[in-house]
């Protein structure tokens, strides 16, 4: 892996966006543009994944589902423990932040896909299922942690039953999850000639559209960087340490338990290391209104996302390569 492999256009556009923010440029993308590109990218990734899955052995997908559930439930608990015991973060903020780390960032996943495409590495079809699955358990475990926190803190349990039900439904009817699952299903069922007709829009121009998305993300990340001070040293360190912990789990699961190729391990690692900024923040805002959104948004968008995009992905890839060459998988 040479240095030039890091010069993935998508990542360079991310850097450009951050740079624009740093020099206080008046560059600004219309807010709706961001929403549109996200819709487009989610559909594109779903279709591509569904098509890949259609020609895969579905029995082999089961372990990926289990892994996704394990990440979605396990990582938030790990995060919660670290935040509470090491960081002395108050229980509700800890719960809200934790939930984000059980979930995934579609943006990071797509950047990893662009990275692998750039260096010509192939990967399994299953990680995209994990991408689609991981948002929901993370939201639910966030609710559980919040309930636990409230009990621990004593006082009125304040557990508004109606709201919990609402959130559970929301965890499955959430727009972006639906779009991902829906387009995955469509990619699955449509015939090859039919798919060919829509491929130019959803695949051919995908990588270019991703650049614009990441430029926008770069500006957002840059804006969030300026809030580091109000978040504190511990949380910022956590925002870098937690993806590394997730990555370690991802590497282990991807290589030893799932037995994927280097590309597949990299994607699984990225999923475990990344942190949601789409479905989880609104859910936590509703479920734990007492938590400070600027904490979890700054961590997710200002810290973990840029870390993963700029440093994480190539690092995870190198680690996956090393593992793959050194150890046999357990399966």
């Amino acid at each position: 892996m040479s240095l030039s492999s890091l010069l993935v256009p998508a990542i360079l556009f991310f850097a450009l966006g951050m740079f624009a923010c740093l020099i206080k440029s008046d560059l600004k993308f219309p807010p709706d543009m961001h929403k549109m590109i996200v819709i487009y990218l989610l559909i594109g990734i779903g279709l591509h994944g569904g098509k890949a899955l259609a020609s895969s052995d579905m029995a082999s997908a089961i372990p990926a589902v289990w892994a996704a559930l394990a990440f979605g439930i396990g990582l938030p608990i790990v995060a919660y423990i670290i935040l509470r015991w090491l960081g002395k973060i108050d229980p509700l903020n800890a719960a809200a932040i934790s939930a984000h780390y059980g979930s995934v960032s579609a943006g990071t996943y797509m950047t990893a896909v662009a990275f692998l495409a750039g260096i010509g590495v192939t990967y399994e079809a299953y990680p995209v299922i994990m991408l689609a699955i991981m948002e929901s358990p993370a939201i639910m475990i966030g609710l559980v942690l919040a309930g636990y926190s409230r009990k621990v803190m004593g006082g009125a349990t304040k557990a508004d039953k109606g709201m919990y039900k609402h959130l559970l439904i929301e965890a499955f009817t959430n727009g972006s999850i639906l779009l991902l699952f829906g387009s995955m299903a469509i990619g699955w069922v449509v015939s090859d000639p039919s798919y060919k007709k829509i491929e130019p829009f959803f695949e051919l121009i995908f990588m270019g559209a991703l650049c614009i998305f990441l430029c926008d993300m770069g500006m957002e990340a840059g804006k969030r960087l300026s809030e580091f001070k109000s978040v504190g040293v511990f949380l910022v360190s956590f925002g870098i340490a937690m993806p590394l912990i997730g990555a370690a789990c991802g590497l282990f699961v991807g290589h030893f338990l799932l037995g994927y190729s280097v590309g597949g391990i990299t994607l699984v690692t990225v999923l475990a290391a990344s942190c949601s900024y789409i479905a989880v923040p609104p859910a936590m805002r509703l479920a734990i209104p007492e938590a400070n959104p600027s904490f979890y948004l700054t961590l997710s968008l200002g810290c973990t996302f840029p870390f993963n995009v700029v440093v994480g992905i190539p690092m995870y890839y190198a680690a996956a390569q090393y593992l793959h060459e050194t150890y046999y998988p357990l399966v």
Binding site: P31, E220, Y277, R285, P293, L297, S300, L301
Partner: protein, 109 residues
């Protein structure tokens, strides 16, 4: 003001700010109270007891809606009494002030 009273009539102006998601529910309440005219501004931001709400936020876009309505005093009372018990769910605020309505084409209050 020297404007003749055939042109201006005394009315109440009600201004409500709520979560845009609750707009449907509020409208039903207004219909119950026989409101015939109101104006709605969407994609509005703000700060209140539940923190900041910003419709242009990247990851956490939250919209308020401003509803402005002009009506006769009696109607205003009815509206306030209808809305008041529900304000708790809507969050936001509800202001009332005096105003004069310029008699126009049709009665929509």
């Amino acid at each position: 003001m020297v404007l003749p009273s055939e042109i201006l009539i005394s009315m109440k102006r009600i201004e409500i700010v709520i979560n845009e998601d609750s707009l449907g529910e509020l409208r039903e309440l207004l219909e119950e109270a026989n409101v015939r005219g109101f104006t709605v501004i969407k994609r509005v931001g703000g700060m209140g007891s539940t923190g900041e709400r910003n419709p242009e936020d990247y990851a956490l876009a939250e919209n308020n809606a401003v509803i402005v309505l002009a009506c006769e005093e009696k109607q205003a009372e009815r509206i306030i009494m209808t809305i008041h018990p529900k304000l708790k769910d809507f969050g936001g605020m509800c202001l009332i002030s005096d105003c004069k309505w310029t008699i126009g084409p049709a009665v929509s209050y």
